[in-house]
């Protein structure tokens, strides 16, 4: 999902690094210089002028400090003040994706347009195939009546000259559940009731207008300013995100100030065992199929948008849930921080009392860069708990279903299917499964194409990350239904 070579994404990383530096240096005293430093007067400009760029950057900084730009009450509130407010929080800010309205370019409404490539042909398949009779021939060329057009795309499919183009709205196109729509001014808004927090809109907006509340500063404050034990829980997608070994990374996190580091792959082992047992039970009861439940964006989509699917979603909890449970059993007073590639985990954490904060790999990266910590030079330290092959392979498409299948063995017949990416088409496919059934009985649903290694919070290229995940998985021991975890 992360689009490589994308200025909007690179800028977000830079902002997070600057904010982390600003906190460490002087607790935001000079934070209002950040937009100026990122867009100096004599530098290049991306929007109309350097001042607009800076104004947008200020809003993006607000989000980096955990505030929602939509909640601005006074435009003169400084970043220093927003930073100080962030340090007064004692709990994670509520997860929310929102649109910076001045950055939203109010793209024209999604539409099909007939270009001058049209030859005004004799066959006129566009006109004849249009189900709404929206196409007429004007001055020898086809023309679409916007009042009648329903954007079905038939004309686009049938034109022999490819003269029909689709002008999309990238964020609306990316949102699988129709949660982002235009207001009367053409600016986009996100409906929190419908939003599944997948972050697809954020990754797809070419203007960098979509932001979400970061919890980076909150975690830094807990580590640096309290004497509580702060424990990092690294999602299995961590492999390949930071050059150096995972043991170096554990050392790096401890150097930063975390008390302990645990792999969420350990919790994924537990998920595998429980989900395999649940699958066997459901099949023996004669249920037609079951879907995985570890992707929080999919889980929420099923609850809100595909209710007919709910009975088939596994009731096994996620790797994050079991990991946090283990952590809090051992250290009830600790602060637990999940670090992963996922934005929807922030929403999941709000329902999980054992998870205090959620960071993305990108945010963790910004914290390390700001502290001058180079991972592969850090002392090698090991994880306190050991994970298995199955748990380690979760973040790549096919990994979860494969793990469950390996534990189901030949106890019942298992036919897996990968639903790779929660696109509009795949949502339709899932609906069909719920109402009419299908040929497979174990559906693995990943919201991000390729799995969690393509999540919006990743740093590394998904291809390279997937290789690293695979290599790490292969170095582990096999899990059995009886393996003792933790």
């Amino acid at each position: 999902m992360l689009i490589p070579k994308n200025n909007a994404n690179l800028m977000r990383t830079k902002i997070l690094i600057k904010l982390a530096q600003s906190y460490l240096e002087d607790k935001f005293a000079e934070a209002d210089r950040i937009p100026l430093e990122l867009r100096p007067k004599d530098g290049e400009v991306s929007r109309c002028c350097v001042y607009k760029d800076r104004a947008v950057l200020k809003y993006r900084c607000m989000a980096g400090l955990g505030h929602c730009p939509e909640e601005e009450t006074d435009e003169l509130t400084t970043l220093k003040e927003y930073g100080e407010q962030a340090l007064e929080r004692t709990h994670a800010p509520k997860n929310k994706l929102s649109v910076i309205d001045i950055a939203c370019s109010a793209c024209v409404k999604s539409q099909y347009v007939i270009t001058n490539v049209c030859r005004g042909c004799f066959a006129q398949p566009c006109r004849l195939n249009c189900p709404k009779e929206a196409i007429s021939i004007v001055n020898g060329r086809a023309h679409i009546d916007p009042d009648k057009c329903v954007n079905c795309g038939k004309c686009f499919e049938v034109c022999p000259y490819h003269s029909v183009v689709k002008i999309p709205v990238p964020c609306e196109e990316a949102c699988p559940v129709g949660a982002i729509t235009k207001d009367e001014k053409g600016k986009e808004h996100i409906d929190v009731e419908k939003c599944i927090s997948c972050g697809r809109c954020l990754a797809s907006c070419p203007f960098g207008a979509i932001v979400e509340r970061s919890q980076m500063i909150d975690v830094m404050r807990e580590v640096k300013e309290t004497d509580k034990k702060v424990i990092a829980m690294l999602a299995p997608a961590i492999s390949g995100q930071f050059p150096g070994s995972l043991q170096n990374l554990v050392g790096a996190l401890k150097k930063f100030g975390f008390s302990d580091v645990i792999e969420v792959a350990v919790g994924a082992d537990i998920t595998t065992q429980k989900e395999a047992a649940e699958f066997i039970e459901r099949m023996e009861e004669g249920k037609p199929f079951m879907t995985t439940s570890c992707c929080p964006a999919y889980f929420r989509a099923a609850q809100v948008h595909i209710p007919e699917l709910k009975p088939y979603v596994s009731s096994t909890k996620t790797p994050m849930y079991y990991t946090a449970e283990l952590v809090k059993q051992e250290h009830p007073d600790c602060i637990s921080v999940f670090v992963g590639p996922c934005l929807a985990k922030r929403a999941e954490a709000e329902w999980d009392k054992n998870v205090d904060y959620v960071l993305t790999f990108e945010e963790l990266g910004a914290m390390l860069v700001a502290s001058g910590i180079n991972v592969d030079e850090c002392e090698e330290e090991s994880f306190s708990k050991v994970s298995h092959v199955q748990g380690r392979q979760f973040p790549v498409t096919g990994g979860v279903a494969g793990a469950v299948a390996s534990l189901v063995g030949d106890k019942v017949e298992i036919r897996t299917e990968k639903i790779d990416g929660l696109t509009k088409e795949n949502i339709k496919l899932l609906k069909r499964y719920a109402t009419k059934g299908g040929e497979n009985n174990m559906l693995e649903v990943m919201c991000c194409e390729g799995g969690c290694v393509s999540g919006p919070g990743c740093i590394a290229l998904s291809k390279k990350a997937a290789r690293a995940v695979d290599a790490y998985a292969q170095s582990g021991e096999q899990l059995t239904p009886e393996s003792k975890i933790g």
């Binding site: 490589p4 050059p243 860069v369 592969d376 740093i459 390279k464």
Partner: protein, 86 residues
Amino acid sequence: MKKIKVRICVGTSCFVMGSAQIQSLEFNAPSDIADEIEIVEERCMNLCKDITRKRNRGPFVYVDDELIEEATYEKVVAKIREKLQK
């Protein structure tokens, strides 16, 4: 012909600031340069810690012996083409 050596710094600072994305040269470099380059992952070269520089000008990439500061995929590809034309 000797290949052009593209050394991409993958120290934490450079990697987070964008060298991770420059690695896409390994998979889908433009066809005119794909066979002419050899990509090497370089550990931190301490260029980011050079205190004579006012700010961290990473990510750093060497194309043969030429250093590119604040490297982007675009800049690296342009430098490779420039070398090829010589």
